[in-house]
C-alpha cells in the first residue's frame, strides 16, 4: 500500500492507497514509524483510495491510536470506503477510532 505523509502546519496528512494486508503490514509499520515519534500528533488519514485492511492493519492502526492517546493528540480516519468501514464496524473498532466522512 502506498503511504504519503505530508505536514500541513500542525497537522500531519497521510494518504493511503491500495490494500493493507499481511504481506505489506511490515512496510506500513515502517511507514508510520515517523508518526509514532511525533510528540504532538495531530494526524488525519485520507482513506479514499484504501481498498482493504486486514486485522494486521487494524492492529497497526490501534498501535498508532494508543500512542496518540498517550500524547493527548488526535487521530482521524476520513473518507473510508464502505467495505473498509464494514471491517471497522464488525470488529468493534469503530468504537475505538474517530471515523469521519
Amino acid at each position: 500500500m502506498d503511504v504519503t505523509i505530508k505536514k500541513e502546519g500542525t497537522k500531519t496528512m497521510v494518504t493511503l492507497q491500495g490494500r493493507l494486508d499481511t504481506t505489506n503490514a511490515d512496510l506500513f509499520q515502517q511507514d508510520i514509524a515517523e508518526l509514532m515519534q511525533d510528540e504532538h500528533p495531530n494526524i488525519e488519514f485520507d482513506c479514499t483510495d484504501m481498498e482493504y485492511t486486514s486485522s494486521q492493519g487494524l492492529r497497526l492502526f490501534l498501535m498508532l491510536q494508543k500512542r496518540v492517546n498517550a500524547k493527548k493528540g488526535s487521530l482521524v480516519l476520513r473518507h473510508m470506503r464502505p467495505q473498509v468501514k464494514e471491517v471497522f464496524d464488525i470488529t468493534g473498532f469503530s468504537n475505538i477510532f474517530k471515523i469521519e466522512d
Partner: protein, 559 residues
C-alpha cells in the same frame, strides 16, 4: 530608602547565596510533586518561589534587627501545596514530615492560632530543611542548613488568603470594624464550605463502597443503573462469555476496549437497573452471536474489540423489539455520533438481521410453535367466557391484541405474551404455569400485565389503583409496553365503536365512579405512559381514538 549596615550585610548575603536558594527550591518542588503523585493524591497546585529582593528589603526594614544572618530568615524559599480537601492538608503534612526535616520549634499550625474574634482562616506552615538522606552536596553544605517554609492549605483557604492579601490589611489593628465583621462572616462561610466538601466526598466514597457490595451480591434488579453502578458492573466482565464465543469464530484476539460509554446507550434504551443489562445479555446473546457469525465467518479477521458484544446485543435487542431501521439509526447516532455513514450502516445491519432471521427467531428453544401453543392455551383458559356485555367469546380480545403486537414486532415471545396476557388475571392460570410452558420472558411480561394490585392497600379507590398501575407502566420495559399497547388498543377500539352506537350511556357499563371523565383521564394517561411507542402505527391509532372519543374538554380540572 537605604538600609543600615546590618541589613545591607544580610541583603548581600542573600544575593551571594541566590544559587543555593534556587537549588533548594528546585529540590523541594520536585520532591513534593513526586511524593504527591506516588501517593495517588490529587491536589490543586504545587508552587514555589524565592523571596524577591524587594520583599526581603521591606522585611529587613521592619524587623531586620531580629536576624543575625540570612540563615535566620526562614521564608526565603517558600513552597506551597494547595489541596481540595482539609483532610488532604493533614496527609501532605504527614508526608512532609517523612521526607523533610521539620523545625518543630518554629513551625506553627496557624489554624489553631485563631481567637474567636480573630479574622483569618489560615494554613498550616512548616519550617523545614532538606535532610542529607534526601540530597547532599559536599561543596554546598548550606543546602541542608538553610530552612524553607512549606505552606499547606485548601483551595478555599487560598482564595481567602489571596483576597485578604489584596486588601492590603496585614495586621489586625488597622482593620476597620465593619470590614472585620464582614470578613469574619465570609471566613466562616468558607470554613463551612470546606467542611461540606469533605463530608460530601466521604459520602460518595461510602456510596461507592455500598454499590460495589450490592453489585457483588448479584441482586442486579435492585441496583439502579448509574455511572457508579455501571462501572462496578463492568469490572465483573459481564460480556466475557459472549465475546469469547464470538472470538472463537476466527480464533480472534480480543482487544479490551472501554465500555463505559454504553451507559448512555442503555439509558436511552430505557434500561433502569443492572438487571435490565443482565437480561439483555442473557436473552440476546444467541442472536448477537449469530450476527457476529455471519459477519465474521467469511472473513479472516482475527481481532475483535470487546465492544462487539454490547454492540451486537443492542442491535439484536432493537431489531427484535420492533425498533426497526429507525431504532438502529438512533442507536448508531448515539454510539458513533451523527454522520453520513450511519444510514448505510443501518441498511447493512438490518438486511443482515432479516437474512438470518434474527427478527423472526427467538433465542428460546420453544420457538417454532410457540405462538400456536400460546393461542391454544389461551383458547382453553378463556373457554366459555364472554367479552363484557358483548355476547362474543373473550378470546377475540387477546387475538386482537396479538394482531396489534404483530404490526409492531414479529417477536414470537411478545405475540405469545399478547395471546396470554389476560389468562392470569381472569382465569385459574398461574404465572408459574406460563413460565413452565412458555419460558421466563413470556411469563415476566404476562405477570406485568396482570398485576392489578400493584402494592396498593386493600380498600383503595378505583382511581388510586389506576394511578399505581399507570406508574408501573410508565417505568416498564419496552417489551411490556408493546404488549400493553396491544391490550389497550383493542379495548379502545371497542370503546370507540360502542361510543358511536350508544353515546354517553356507554359509561354506565363500567366500574369507574365518575363515568366518562375518569375514563378520559385514564386513557389520556395511558397514551402518555406508552409514548415511547409513538412511531408505531398502533400507537397513532390509539392516540387518534382516544382523542376522538374523549374530547380533552372532558378532563376535569381536579385531576
Amino acid at each position: 530608602m537605604s538600609l543600615d549596615l546590618h541589613n545591607q550585610m544580610i541583603l548581600d548575603e542573600y544575593r551571594e547565596q541566590l544559587p543555593v536558594f534556587k537549588k533548594i527550591q528546585e529540590i523541594v518542588e520536585a520532591q513534593l510533586r513526586q511524593c504527591i503523585a506516588s501517593n495517588n493524591l490529587y491536589v490543586n497546585a504545587v508552587e514555589s518561589r524565592i523571596k524577591s529582593e524587594k520583599s526581603l528589603t521591606g522585611k529587613l526594614q521592619q524587623k531586620g534587627h531580629k536576624y543575625n544572618s540570612v540563615k535566620d530568615i526562614t521564608d526565603i524559599v517558600g513552597a506551597r501545596v494547595i489541596t481540595f480537601y482539609t483532610d488532604e492538608v493533614d496527609k501532605i503534612a504527614a508526608l512532609a514530615d517523612k521526607i523533610f526535616e521539620i523545625d518543630w520549634a518554629n513551625s506553627i499550625d496557624k489554624r489553631k492560632m485563631l481567637e474567636l474574634d480573630q479574622f483569618g482562616y489560615m494554613s498550616l506552615h512548616y519550617i523545614c530543611r532538606i535532610p542529607k538522606t534526601l540530597y547532599e552536596d559536599p561543596e554546598h553544605p548550606e543546602i541542608n542548613d538553610y530552612r524553607f517554609e512549606l505552606q499547606m492549605r485548601t483551595a478555599l483557604q487560598h482564595v481567602w488568603a489571596t483576597i485578604n492579601h489584596d486588601t492590603g490589611y496585614k495586621m489586625g489593628v488597622e482593620v476597620p470594624w465593619e470590614y472585620l465583621r464582614n470578613i469574619n462572616r465570609i471566613a466562616g462561610m468558607l470554613e463551612l464550605a470546606d467542611e461540606q466538601f469533605s463530608r460530601i466526598r466521604k459520602e460518595i466514597i461510602d456510596y461507592r463502597r455500598n454499590i460495589q457490595s450490592l453489585v457483588a451480591s448479584g441482586n442486579f434488579d435492585e441496583v439502579p443503573l448509574n455511572g457508579d453502578t455501571f462501572k462496578s458492573f463492568l469490572a465483573l466482565n459481564p460480556f466475557k462469555r459472549l465475546i469469547e464465543k464470538i472470538a472463537a469464530i476466527n480464533q480472534a484476539e480480543i482487544y479490551n476496549d472501554d465500555l463505559y460509554h454504553y451507559i448512555s446507550i442503555f439509558k436511552k434504551m430505557q434500561f433502569k437497573t443492572l438487571g435490565d443489562v443482565v437480561r439483555l445479555i442473557k436473552e440476546y446473546s444467541d442472536d448477537a452471536y449469530q450476527l457476529a457469525l455471519h459477519q465474521f465467518a467469511s472473513t479472516d479477521l482475527d481481532i475483535v474489540a470487546l465492544s462487539v458484544a454490547p454492540q451486537n446485543l443492542c442491535i439484536a435487542h432493537i431489531v427484535k423489539n420492533g425498533g426497526g431501521e429507525t431504532g438502529l439509526k438512533t442507536f448508531f447516532d448515539k454510539l458513533f455520533g451523527k454522520n453520513n455513514y450511519n444510514r448505510e450502516r443501518v441498511h447493512r445491519v438490518y438486511s443482515l438481521c432479516q437474512e438470518i432471521n434474527i427478527i423472526e427467531s427467538s433465542s428460546n428453544d420453544l420457538s417454532s410453535n410457540l405462538l400456536d401453543r400460546a393461542l391454544k392455551f389461551a383458547i382453553d383458559a378463556h373457554a366459555n367466557t364472554e367479552r363484557r356485555g358483548k355476547g362474543f367469546p373473550y378470546i377475540v380480545h387477546p387475538m386482537e391484541a396479538v394482531e396489534i403486537v404483530a404490526s409492531i414486532t414479529p417477536d414470537q415471545e411478545l405475540l405469545a405474551a399478547a395471546a396470554l396476557h389476560d389468562t392470569v388475571e381472569d382465569t385459574n392460570v398461574t404465572v408459574e404455569q406460563i413460565r413452565q410452558e412458555f419460558g421466563d420472558r413470556v411469563a415476566r411480561i404476562v405477570k406485568a400485565e396482570s398485576d392489578n394490585q400493584h402494592g396498593v392497600p386493600a380498600g383503595s379507590t378505583w382511581k388510586e389503583r389506576k394511578i399505581a398501575a399507570l406508574d408501573v407502566l410508565r417505568n416498564a420495559s419496552q417489551e411490556v409496553k408493546i404488549v400493553a399497547l396491544g391490550d389497550k388498543l383493542s379495548n379502545m377500539r371497542a370503546i370507540a365503536r360502542d361510543y358511536q352506537k350508544l353515546g354517553d350511556k356507554l359509561w354506565d357499563r363500567f366500574h369507574a365512579p365518575n363515568g366518562k371523565a375518569d375514563h378520559a383521564w385514564r386513557y389520556h394517561e395511558l397514551a402518555k405512559a406508552l409514548s415511547s411507542l409513538k412511531d408505531t402505527d398502533a400507537y397513532k391509532e390509539f392516540e387518534y381514538l382516544v382523542n376522538k372519543t374523549f374530547d380533552l374538554t372532558e378532563l376535569r380540572i381536579d385531576n
